[in-house]
């Protein structure tokens, strides 16, 4: 059962070779068994999952079973779930139970999905290591060869990535602001896609940086991601930035192939410091696509080097404002104090972790009078230039191929103390976020330590189908079947 993909599980359920209750019980048992070590779940919703599974089995016995009927998923704990605690992995929302459901999770529920629980993440999705969570760090199920050192799963969707890698869920939802789906997917050897900004509704998803945040699926295969994205995506009148255009059947695009497709290789993504394993894997990826009939074109995205600094200005500016609502007045945790200002200070000091506080301070700084023009305004202008880079490149090519991250997963203990060093993890993922174009990461091979490495495909606005088609070609070529050290299958 552990080698099931979402697609094969769907088939098995349809053919009644497997019941939704059996499937759900299997994952709940795996979570109990392995998640003590991985810590990918903040909350496990056993009762709800079982009740959902029973209802799914009843539906599966009819001809009216919806597309995801009976398939157990994990939900990043940034999506508000009606009646289920939603924490953003922050102390300030430690006991927050929303009376409403996010649009993305509503869509999944409407399609019959079962929620196993809420996935751990970096606090308020701020981080690339999943070490800033108030519910403890997530441990990557992968280990280096001959080593027991615990590695980070990446972040911020670290719990979502680790759970899929360890076989604790068929798929999970993630959110990606500057790489939060793609980088942990790469670190954990799974597939994840950040769709075009506006493709999935942000309604009911706790905001980090509104102009960048975008939900997307994380799963084992390209096909699984296609199935999940089709359910998650769609126009939502409750989100003014969601885009009103039909959602294609992404599954139908999977086997389109890449014959005649022009694949751009941006030269700026090959810094001197790029590890040899990653450079080699990138070349391998290029060869796979060329062999499958794609045309490889060298392109330039000249403003790439400004991506990271401008991202950290725009994202943190928005975050400093988005997180102002956590003030202890109406919901969430409160630390009482003498005056209103003291209440704010005490509540927010106790409620937010160090990284969140740092980012709020930096975001506040860049918006301050006297600094706004030099930072925020300038960053917005550079953002336009970065967008233009992509538009120019996409006049010549259909997709771009790059590494997902500049390294493989590193150890908890190797986590740099300098925040800027950590921010560098996002160097290859941030530009697509700034431009709002879709991008995915797929597991393409292992490094010399036996750790997974990801490659990133970036596409034109709303051309997720092309990404799935090219990704599927690479997935087949890569034949990535490696399993992490910690995996439900290994102990079953």
């Amino acid at each position: 059962m552990h080698d099931l993909t979402l697609a094969s599980a769907r088939k098995a359920l349809r053919e009644r070779r497997l019941s939704a209750v059996e499937l759900t019980d299997h994952f709940l048992a795996s979570i109990r068994k392995f998640d003590g070590e991985i810590n990918s779940f903040v909350t496990v919703t056993e009762d709800q999952a079982r009740a959902g599974a029973r209802a799914a089995d009843a539906l599966l016995a009819t001809d009216n079973a919806p597309s995801l009927c009976g398939l157990p998923l994990g939900i990043k704990d940034l999506f508000c779930t009606n009646g289920v605690r939603t924490t953003a992995s922050s102390n300030i929302l430690r006991n927050f139970v929303p009376p409403y459901e996010s649009t993305v999770t509503s869509n999944l529920l409407a399609d019959g999905a079962i929620f196993l629980g809420k996935m751990n993440l970096d606090e308020f999705a701020m981080g690339s290591t999943n070490m800033t969570s108030a519910f403890g760090p997530v441990t990557n199920p992968w280990r280096r060869k001959n080593s027991d050192v615990k590695l980070v799963p990446g972040g911020s969707s670290g719990g979502s990535a680790a759970a899929v890698a360890a076989g604790l869920a068929l798929g999970t939802t993630g959110t990606d602001t500057g790489g939060s789906i793609r980088q942990p997917a790469a670190f954990c050897g799974i597939t994840g896609i950040k769709p075009t900004y506006g493709r999935c509704s942000r309604f009911g998803t706790i905001a980090f940086a509104s102009s960048l945040d975008q939900a997307g699926p994380m799963a084992r295969t390209m096909e699984d991601c296609a199935i999940l994205l089709e359910s998650m995506a769609g126009f939502d009148p409750k989100d003014s930035t969601s885009v009103d255009r039909p959602v294609p059947r992404y599954e139908d695009a999977l086997e389109r192939g890449v014959k005649g497709l022009k694949v751009g290789i941006p030269r700026e993504y090959r810094p001197d410091t790029l590890p040899a394993d990653i450079a080699a894997l990138w070349d391998q990826g290029i060869a796979w696509l060329r062999d499958a009939g794609a045309e490889i074109v060298d392109v330039s995205l000249p403003h790439t080097k400004y991506g990271l600094p401008t991202y950290y200005i725009v994202a943190l500016a928005e975050a400093s404002s988005n997180l102002a609502r956590y003030d202890g007045v109406r919901f969430g945790e409160r630390v009482d104090a003498g005056t209103l200002d003291e209440l704010y200070e005490a509540t927010r000091h106790a409620g937010f972790g160090e990284e969140v506080r740092r980012r709020i301070l930096m975001g506040t700084y860049v918006l301050s009078s006297g600094y706004y023009d030099a930072y925020y305004l300038r960053a917005q202008k550079v953002r336009t230039l970065i967008q233009r880079d992509f538009l120019n490149a996409f006049e010549k090519v259909d997709v771009l191929l790059t590494p997902t991250a500049p390294s493989a997963a590193f150890a908890h203990s190797e986590r740099p103390t300098d925040p800027v060093q950590i921010y560098l993890n996002d160097i290859f993922t941030v530009p697509a976020s700034m431009a709002g174009v879709p991008a995915l990461s797929l597991p393409a091979g292992l490094d010399h330590d036996g750790l997974p490495l990801g490659l990133q495909l970036i596409g034109r606005y709303f051309e997720e189908e092309t990404l799935f088609a090219a990704g599927r070609v690479m997935e087949k070529a890569a034949g990535f079947t490696h399993k992490p050290a910690l995996h439900a299958g290994a102990f079953a």
Binding site: T86, Y100, R202, A207, D239, A324, S369
Partner: protein, 485 residues
């Protein structure tokens, strides 16, 4: 110019005033949520999760509020910006759920416009409008419900406001009052704000500075949240006087935010410039730029009601009334409508005389408004018709109108009930006159010897004897004839 000058020890000072008016938009729902925007209600009953700033909640613009802002812009003869944008104004306060107010800072929906005001001496001035923008109102903090705690009511949080900013064109308290009255009148005509200052649906921030003639502007102070036109005028007066005193004593006025205390008739410092918030405005990333179409704006323009100035001119032309009369009649739309109904069925001159005279007097006396008046337009019309067709004379009509206000009966019912029908029988009037003349033989002799003034005496006696019901013209005519005998 109104010529409002403060005579200081060092010479005359001129005052410079600009007003920021916050006008609550009339709409069913709030600016960015579907919650009711109605005034009142139990605390926290008109609140959506969006208004309360819950995690993951997003604003969605209410098209009706945008239409109201555009209508208002059109009513102020202002530029309508087809592209505008919402910004976040960041600050912490307990009644500001999101930690920011969504407002329009850099790109307001309405640009420059103008308000024409008329002063008591009949002079006309034009006050520039800098801009009008849409923004959210905050909730209400209540500090008087409990000795140690404050309570928050979010009913108002998120309700749409229009902030209407004037140029510093105002030069006297009188002009400020005239500007606010005119603005309120336009908003009410448009149906975009009820202008009710007591309920807080219209509030003003008043910027005041003083200067010597010909000087550049000096430092201004902002007096926050003044909630009546009278207080605005008083606040300007006392604040200007305070500033003159400071300047003349050799000091300098500090730029600061002040409060007006109407009980003590003084302004007090609320916070200095150093303590001013840094609002960290930036474009709200949850909202796209607001794009509206020229055709849509033109559609709204075509559907605008007639505005006070246009109505005034039309009333003057159509009904031959004076500038003063048209001004009074158009103060409120309801009054103008009332007048037009009456004027169409009566002599328009007679109608305006009666409305501005006895009818308004009766409204004032009974505390009624044009809407609640027991005498409707049709009732007044009937009364005027009775005068015109000589059923009653003007003096009797006054009595009938009072009765109408008291009893709610129609004019004709009252005339019949009280037997007030005018006597037009020449025989009866002639007989009465003869009796009077013989009873006052001495006066008659005086008259005949040249004391013409006694004519009025004989008219009065006749009318008195006939209980006012005689037709005055007939009395005159017959008296002339009989005195000549």
């Amino acid at each position: 110019m109104s010529g409002y000058i403060i005579e200081g020890a060092t010479g005359p000072w001129e005052i410079v005033v600009g007003l920021e008016v916050h006008a609550q938009v009339i709409s069913h729902a709030k600016l960015f949520s579907g919650a009711s925007a109605e005034y009142g209600g139990e605390p926290n009953t008109h609140v959506s999760l969006i208004d309360a700033g819950f995690p993951g909640m997003l604003p969605v613009i209410n098209a009706e509020c945008v239409a109201q802002a555009v209508r208002t812009g059109l009513g102020l003869n202002a530029q309508i910006h087809l592209m505008s944008r919402f910004d976040r104004k960041n600050y912490f306060y307990a009644d500001l759920p999101q930690g920011y107010q969504i407002s329009q800072f850099a790109h307001p929906i309405v640009g420059e416009g103008q308000v024409e005001i008329e002063l008591a001496n009949g002079s006309v001035r034009h006050i520039g409008v800098t801009r009008l923008h849409l923004e959210q109102d905050a909730g209400k903090s209540m500090h008087d419900q409990d000795p140690t705690r404050s309570f928050i009511d979010l009913n108002r949080a998120g309700v749409a406001l229009m902030e209407i900013v004037s140029e510093p064109d105002i030069r006297s308290p009188e002009e400020a009052g005239a500007y606010l009255r005119k603005l309120r009148q336009i908003l009410r005509y448009l149906g975009t704000c009820d202008g009710n200052m007591e309920e807080g649906s219209m509030r003003a921030d008043v910027n005041v500075s003083v200067r010597k003639a010909g000087e550049e502007y000096r430092t201004r102070c902002e007096i926050k949240n003044v909630n009546s036109i009278r207080y605005v005028m008083q606040a300007i007066e006392v604040e200007a006087a305070r500033q003159v005193e400071i300047w003349e004593a050799g000091g300098t006025v500090d730029q600061e935010t002040r409060l007006f205390d109407h009980v003590r008739s003084e302004t007090r410092s609320l916070r200095s410039k150093e303590d001013a918030h840094d609002y960290r405005y930036f474009p709200d990333p949850d909202l796209l730029p607001l794009l509206i179409e020229r055709d849509w704006v033109e559609g709204l323009r075509a559907a605008l009601p007639e505005l006070p100035e246009a109505k005034r001119e039309r009333l003057e032309k159509t009904y031959g009334i004076s500038r003063y009369e048209s001004g009074v009649l158009t103060v409120e739309q309801g009054i103008a409508d009332f007048y037009e109904t009456v004027a169409k069925g009566s002599d328009p001159r007679l109608a305006v005389t009666w409305m501005l005279g006895d009818f308004f007097a009766a409204l004032n006396r009974t505390g009624a408004t044009i809407e609640t008046s027991p005498v409707k337009a049709e009732g007044l019309m009937e009364l005027l018709a009775l005068i015109t067709d000589s059923t009653i004379n003007g003096k009797i009509a006054k009595e009938v109108l009072e009765d109408m206000f008291e009893t709610g009966d129609s004019a004709s019912v009252i005339v019949e009930r009280k037997g007030l029908r005018q006597v037009t029988d020449t025989g009866a009037i002639e007989a009465e006159i003869r009796t009077i003349l013989s009873a006052h033989a001495d006066k008659l002799a005086e008259y005949k010897s040249g004391k013409d003034k006694l004519f009025g005496f004989f008219v009065g006696q006749t009318m008195k004897a006939m209980k006012g019901k005689a037709n005055p013209a007939m009395v005159n005519e017959l008296l002339v004839k009989l005195l000549a005998e």
